[in-house]
Symmetry: C2
Subunit: 236 residues, 2 copies
């Protein structure tokens, strides 16, 4: 019954029979990715697409100035590396393991052939890409309209809401949600388009106000509803 670890991006395989899935996986190569190790980098040939089987992959892009901007994380079940691959252009973004991970690599031509012969899967893929477009679009809007605090709060909500992983075992008060993907402040800064220092300061303030609670190495949100409220105020 606990299906909620899946994200909106993840359901490519859901519509397939186990037989079809096996067909796709037959041409997949299993690959290990160490923490911090690159899967691909900007400029590489985009000959493969990937599926995360365990761990977490960081997708990021370097600005011309060398600053690293994290676009999103790919969790187990999600596909990544699709955009450039399906257009036949070199990689524009980079991917690396956030933690030690295991992924499946599939040749572009195999994947294309698979989509061609499985229209349902192609429609799924369209749905996944659509979701990603909306995520990016909204990030864009946030970035140019909200201040850092709001963006940060939204980030916290996003990464706890879906409960991408099982919640931590630490004591939780009723209603409290757990953000157990432990991001460094630098990661958060890079996700939110701010500096490490600013993020630190904001988080300290949020803790002081009882809006977030530090539990061991990660964070809890005692009153998610209050945070949601914080984000939506704007016009009034």
């Amino acid at each position: 019954m606990e299906e909620s670890w899946k994200t909106a991006h993840a359901d490519l395989l859901a519509a397939l029979s186990s037989q079809e899935m096996a067909g796709l996986f037959r041409c997949a190569r299993r690959r290990c990715v160490a923490r911090g190790a690159p899967v691909f980098e900007a400029g590489d040939d985009a000959g493969e697409i990937f599926i995360v089987s365990s761990g977490c992959i960081k997708l990021y892009q370097l600005s011309p100035g060398g600053k690293e901007i994290i676009l999103w994380f790919a969790f187990p079940g999600e596909i990544f590396g699709v955009a450039e691959s399906m257009r036949g252009v070199p990689r524009e973004i980079s991917a690396a393991g956030k933690i030690a991970s295991e992924i499946l690599a599939i040749d572009r031509k195999d994947f294309v052939e698979f989509l061609r012969s499985h229209p349902e899967a192609a429609l799924r893929a369209i749905g996944i890409l659509s979701a990603r477009i909306r995520t990016l679009g909204s990030s864009l809007v946030e970035l140019s309209a909200d201040d850092v605090e709001t963006r940060l709060v939204r980030l916290l909500l996003r990464f706890s809401a879906g409960s991408l992983r099982p919640p931590c075992s630490a004591s939780r008060r009723p209603g409290e949600v757990c953000m157990n993907l432990d991001l460094t402040r630098t990661d958060m800064a890079s996700l939110v388009g701010a500096t490490r220092q600013t993020v630190t300061t904001m988080l300290v303030r949020l803790q002081r106000d009882g809006i977030v609670r530090a539990v061991g190495r990660h964070l809890h949100l005692p009153e998610p509803a209050r945070l949601t409220l914080m984000c939506d105020r704007g016009v009034g």
Copy 2:
């Protein structure tokens, strides 16, 4: 021979036989959109997807604070309104005519059926969405890494490079490109994530430096190469 008016987003129909295209268009309703008139708005039911047949449609999103952020423009041949429609959720963005336009509306279920029965078209659609993902991703990176001037220059290049429309008839010096989609300063500001005033100031400076040239109501870029250079400097 002059095919270059098409954009990367536009080639959904390219792979189809004229017969297949006719099949798709049979279930399309032709619709006129006045300048400034809405096609759909955030919150609406996303029951249709659209194809621009003439004119130009502005796709934008309102921030909670009411600020309008332009995500992109859809030009003749391009499809829009796909993302929400393919996921079965209400519209999150809004669309309105930038100028008087004509569009085709297709019911979601007809479009899905079409994709299901035309795998090539589905693959095309995936390519189009992929391109859009990359565009949005890059905008995100720019927005959080570059200053307003750089972003503005990049915008000018983007909208002149593809020569989305035939160049203007005014005299052009050799090598000079024409940006004949006349955006207001406010539009540019909203595309670039800045205020109208800042954009104005920047543009005046760029004109003073001979980097852009005002021709009647729109702009020319005498030395596009120099602009490209401006954007790429960063690390060095």
